[in-house]
């Protein structure tokens, strides 16, 4: 574990990599502290915040196979969708707040699948 680090383009970042420095938003707000192991969700958040480069600990072993992101499915399995809809059964799916919440839950299911 060392001080060595390399700046990597956000497109080349993969889950399992570890941040070498704090990642700050353009506002100066802390997004991720140094030493954070990146996950698919964190990377998506960095994309959303328009972060283009991240300093990565370079002598961290490259992500082991079980840390590598599995190929991203394009559809969420039916059983997960059914379960989600069952959980929302007492809510009005046409309400704009609920609609957005269902969308976020579905996109997280895709990340997890």
């Amino acid at each position: 574990m060392g001080l060595d680090m390399k700046n990597m383009k956000i497109q080349d970042i993969a889950p399992g990599m570890v941040t070498a420095t704090d990642v700050l938003a353009s506002s100066g707000h802390l997004l991720l502290p140094a030493g954070t192991k990146l996950t698919t969700r964190y990377i998506r958040m960095l994309h959303a915040r328009d972060i283009s480069y991240v300093a990565i600990e370079s002598d961290e072993e490259s992500p082991s196979p079980d840390h590598q992101a599995p190929p991203r499915p394009t559809v969420v399995p039916d059983e997960h969708v059914n379960r989600l809809m069952k959980r929302f059964q007492y809510n009005d799916l046409k309400n704009s707040f609920i609609k957005e919440l269902v969308r976020i839950c579905t996109s997280r299911l895709m990340d997890r699948a």
Partner: protein
């Protein structure tokens, strides 16, 4: 013959009153004769609490450029009322970790409560409310009545939990059928007994039914929404637990758009681990896991 919500609170002596140190600090905050350093001196009688507070104030959420190492300095930067609310959060958490039960793991209970607290605070900040810590407290305490129910009437509590999961019912409805009152009623009764602000009491009492609250307290709408977001996003129960129904009015009274939700969820996830470990140090859950 079942107990009433009031009897459940009255019968749980361990949590019947808040510790002396919080009561004293609460009085000092409301009395202009006391200064920040007086409050700092009072707090220093509890070094563990002081250390925890300073850790929280130095966390990324506050994002202060330099390290804050004394309570009186913490008061000058976050304000005396916010500090009181932080003291309250740490006090309540400490009080309840001594009250384990066999029905629900304390770890998952406090995870849900902390997530709800963080989301409530983010919603309040986005809606430009003053004193966002009060929203954090209201979120943290919204289900606190459940802990008393699990402890005092575990058989009925288990029946309500089983009924809710078997029939895909909202827990509150199952509780009303089985016990005649809900965790929200018990929680509000406890907050009343503790003489905490009315808005917090209402947020706890009406977090499932904001339409029944007529004072228009923002805390009620915010905690209602925060609880729904938390239940939907961080679904950790193995069985499908239904998401409580939204009262559309609660969403309409706030100055938010659907696009605000996802960034709040990301922010909440970034803040969670640190806040959770600051509030719940050591191995407080070891003996209470079910």
């Amino acid at each position: 013959m079942t107990l009433t919500a009031r009897e459940i609170v009255a019968g749980t002596v361990e949590v019947a009153s808040l510790p002396e140190i919080f009561i004293r600090i609460n009085e000092m905050v409301d009395n202009p004769h006391y200064s920040a350093s007086d409050i700092g001196r009072m707090l220093s009688k509890d070094p563990a609490m002081t250390a925890r507070l300073l850790k929280i104030v130095n966390s990324p959420f506050y994002n202060f450029p330099s390290k804050i190492d004394t309570v009186s300095r913490a008061i000058t930067v976050i304000g005396v009322r916010e500090l009181r609310d932080l003291v309250l959060a740490t006090t309540v958490v400490k009080l309840f970790t001594g009250l384990p039960n066999d029905l629900v793991s304390m770890d998952s209970f406090w995870r849900h409560s902390t997530q709800c607290a963080i989301v409530a605070r983010l919603i309040a900040a986005k809606n430009r409310e003053l004193n966002v810590e009060r929203f954090f407290i209201a979120g943290l305490l919204h289900d606190i009545g459940s802990l008393l129910i699990y402890r005092k009437i575990p058989e009925l509590a288990r029946e309500a939990l089983l009924r809710a999961s078997h029939n895909d019912e909202v827990l509150e409805i199952a509780e009303r059928q089985v016990m005649g009152f809900t965790h929200a009623d018990v929680g509000a009764e406890l907050i009343r007994k503790w003489r905490l602000p009315k808005n917090i009491e209402e947020a706890v009492e009406y977090h499932h039914l904001p339409q029944n609250c007529h004072t228009g307290a923002k805390e009620v709408a915010v905690v209602h929404l925060a609880n729904i977001i938390t239940a939907a996003i961080w679904d950790t129960a193995p069985e499908p637990m239904v998401i409580p129904p939204l009262d559309p009015k609660a969403w309409e009274v706030l100055d938010l758009t659907p696009d605000d939700i996802e960034p709040m969820v990301s922010d909440a996830e970034l803040q969670f681990e640190e806040i959770f470990s600051n509030l719940f140090t050591e191995n407080v859950f070891k003996r209470s896991a079910s």
